[in-house]
């Protein structure tokens, strides 16, 4: 049993980290586009990205299942192109956590970028920095507090994701069971002590994430 708990803990950490890492580049890019540019369809994209915050996670999971399932358009594409089967594997857990955390990251990134004084970017431009250079030497460092906070938030959300995961990845022991799924399963089976054990680990991880981010923020004050 302890073996099992350790496996679930590391699996959850790994999946949450991978999911967060996957959404970091597109999340930051989209946050920047939303904060700084006007483009057609902006409101539509904004709404779609925010959807997982609003609709029940199980519904998000169902949508993902329809898209990435064997009969789904994206699922078929993945299988034909890469021979990749996503649903009911660990990849589905990563996908679910990524989709559910994405809006939080995008929102945080957008606010972080909006809070930056545009004149600092202008100043960098007048000093000879190209737009990409301005982004990496000025915009990104100045937004790092907000981006870090958003990343921690996304990671924490990924740690606790349940509804979408259970729909698209199922509860496959040793393969797709994360802390949240494990807690639910143990509760369903009346194994309260095991559920409480996993719950303790979840709480400890959440504390560690928040404490770690606080330390990081304090080390590099903006």
């Amino acid at each position: 049993m302890p073996d099992n708990i350790v496996q679930i803990m590391f699996f959850t950490l790994w999946v949450a980290a991978l999911g967060t890492a996957c959404i970091l580049p597109p999340g930051i890019l989209l946050g920047w586009l939303l904060a700084r540019k006007r483009w057609p369809g902006k409101t539509v994209v904004e709404t779609i990205v925010a959807l997982p915050l609003v609709i029940p996670p199980v519904a998000t999971g169902l949508i993902l299942l329809k898209l990435f399932g064997r009969r789904g358009p994206l699922g078929r594409l993945c299988e034909q192109l890469f021979g990749l089967e996503i649903v009911f594997t660990w990849k589905a857990v990563v996908l679910a956590t990524a989709v559910m955390s994405f809006p939080l990251l995008v929102r945080a990134a957008r606010v972080a970028f909006e809070e930056i004084d545009r004149r600092l970017e202008d100043a960098a431009g007048t000093l000879g920095a190209r737009p990409l250079d301005v982004f990496f030497s000025i915009t990104l460092p100045l937004a790092r507090r907000g981006l870090l906070a958003g990343t921690v938030l996304a990671f924490a959300r990924a740690l606790g994701e349940f509804g979408a995961t259970v729909m698209i990845a199922g509860m496959i022991p040793g393969e797709t069971i994360t802390l949240s799924l494990g807690i639910y399963q143990h509760v369903q089976l009346g194994e309260d002590s095991a559920a409480l054990g996993l719950l303790g680990i979840s709480v400890a991880l959440a504390f560690a994430a928040v404490w770690g981010s606080e330390r990081l923020l304090r080390k590099h004050p903006a």
Binding site: L120, D122, A123, L127, G128, A129, R130, P131, L142, A222
Partner: protein, 363 residues
């Protein structure tokens, strides 16, 4: 009017229409010294600067600096701002908060080859920021921040320095602290400066050339002294003051007075910290200049200068008259009542005496 097309640095034709506001500016500016873009807020000064810097792209513009075309929409040409050799000083300094002073100063140097060589140490010393290099921007005073911003812009070796109300965000004490640095820069800097301001004091102290903007249009433009004494300025600019530039010829330590020689004569004024031979700019308001037909002997007024009346214009609903004077080639205006003019029977071409109290000559 435009007497300097051969030494012209900047030729611009700017046109920008934006939510009811039209900017229409056609300028040829000198390649030396400080040109002030002067006007009330909303007159389009800052927009001019941003378009010249390339921070904003307005269609239908033509911008040419030192023979290099930066924007010509007729030919679809637009040089992006990072390739324009400019230095830009923002109103609030815009120092990068995540970099220390030295890193701020180095930012431009590593990114664009300097258009002209810069003596880093001399510039840093001139602006008095040697001791700040390891500090973070947040720990600097407003004046220090602005000096670092000026140094940062100049260290990149620009061909043109653009300053957008660099003193507007500072209180009076900080302004007093930084103005001497700007004056020193003015005398040592070889590159032209475009200086946006709505403060008459700054313009009078720093500018050589003046462009007055109002409602997106140029209402007057030319060398500082002649432009400030034009009789056709809109009334809102009429009491900015006039400038006389001269050399200290004598000092009286007892009375704390100096004598300033200028092409039209000499002026006496109160000043206690200048040596003979140093250059000085003084400011005189037209309402502080009075006229008399004869040089009165027993008067407290120390400055009585022979002058010829060159023109006049009615002001203040016909209660005032602004009288244009020529003092040995130097233009000056006197604001008097219409009643005085009629009692003295003043006409263009008359010889009169301009009287200026020494205490109303400002430095």
């Amino acid at each position: 009017m435009s007497t300097m097309p051969d030494t012209a640095l900047l030729r611009t034709r700017l046109l920008r229409r934006h939510s009811g506001f039209t900017l229409d500016v056609d300028l040829v500016l000198p390649g030396r010294g400080v040109t002030a873009l002067f006007g009330h807020s909303g007159s389009g000064k800052t927009t001019c600067l941003r378009i010249i810097a390339g921070l904003e792209r307005a269609p239908g513009c033509h911008i040419e600096v030192n023979g290099e075309v930066w924007q010509d929409d007729a030919r679809g040409l637009f040089v992006p701002m990072h390739r324009r050799a400019i230095g830009y000083v923002f109103q609030d300094a815009a120092l990068f908060p995540h970099l220390n002073v030295a890193q701020n100063l180095a930012y431009g140097k590593t990114r664009r080859p300097a258009a002209r060589p810069v003596d880093d140490r001399a510039l840093i010393t001139l602006l008095g920021i040697d001791h700040l290099l390891n500090r973070q921007p947040a720990s600097l005073s407003g004046g220090e921040r602005q000096r670092v911003a000026i140094a940062r812009a100049l260290l990149a070796g620009p061909r043109l320095l653009l300053m957008d109300e660099p003193l507007a965000a500072l209180d009076l004490a900080r302004k007093r602290e930084i103005l001497p640095y700007l004056e020193r820069l003015h005398t040592t800097l070889e590159i032209p400066v475009l200086y946006v301001s709505h403060s008459p004091d700054e313009v009078v102290r720093l500018a050589d050339h003046l462009v007055i903007l109002d409602g997106g249009r140029v209402v007057a433009e030319g060398p500082l002294t002649t432009t400030l004494t034009r009789l056709d300025l809109p009334t809102t600019f009429a009491d900015v003051g006039m400038v006389i530039e001269g050399v200290v010829a004598a000092c009286d330590a007892d009375y704390r007075m100096i004598t300033l020689d200028f092409p039209g004569g000499s002026l006496r004024l109160v000043h206690d910290a200048l040596r003979v031979g140093s250059k000085l700019r003084v400011q005189i308001k037209s309402r502080d200049v009075s006229l008399s037909l004869h040089a009165a002997g027993d008067t407290s007024i120390l400055n009585v200068l022979p002058a010829i009346i060159t023109g006049e214009t009615m002001q203040g609903d016909g209660g005032h008259v602004l009288v244009g004077l020529d003092i040995g080639g130097v233009p000056l205006n006197a604001r008097i009542t219409r009643m005085s003019r009629d009692q003295l029977g003043l006409k263009i071409g008359h010889r009169v005496h301009a009287q200026i109290k020494a205490v109303s000559v400002l430095t």
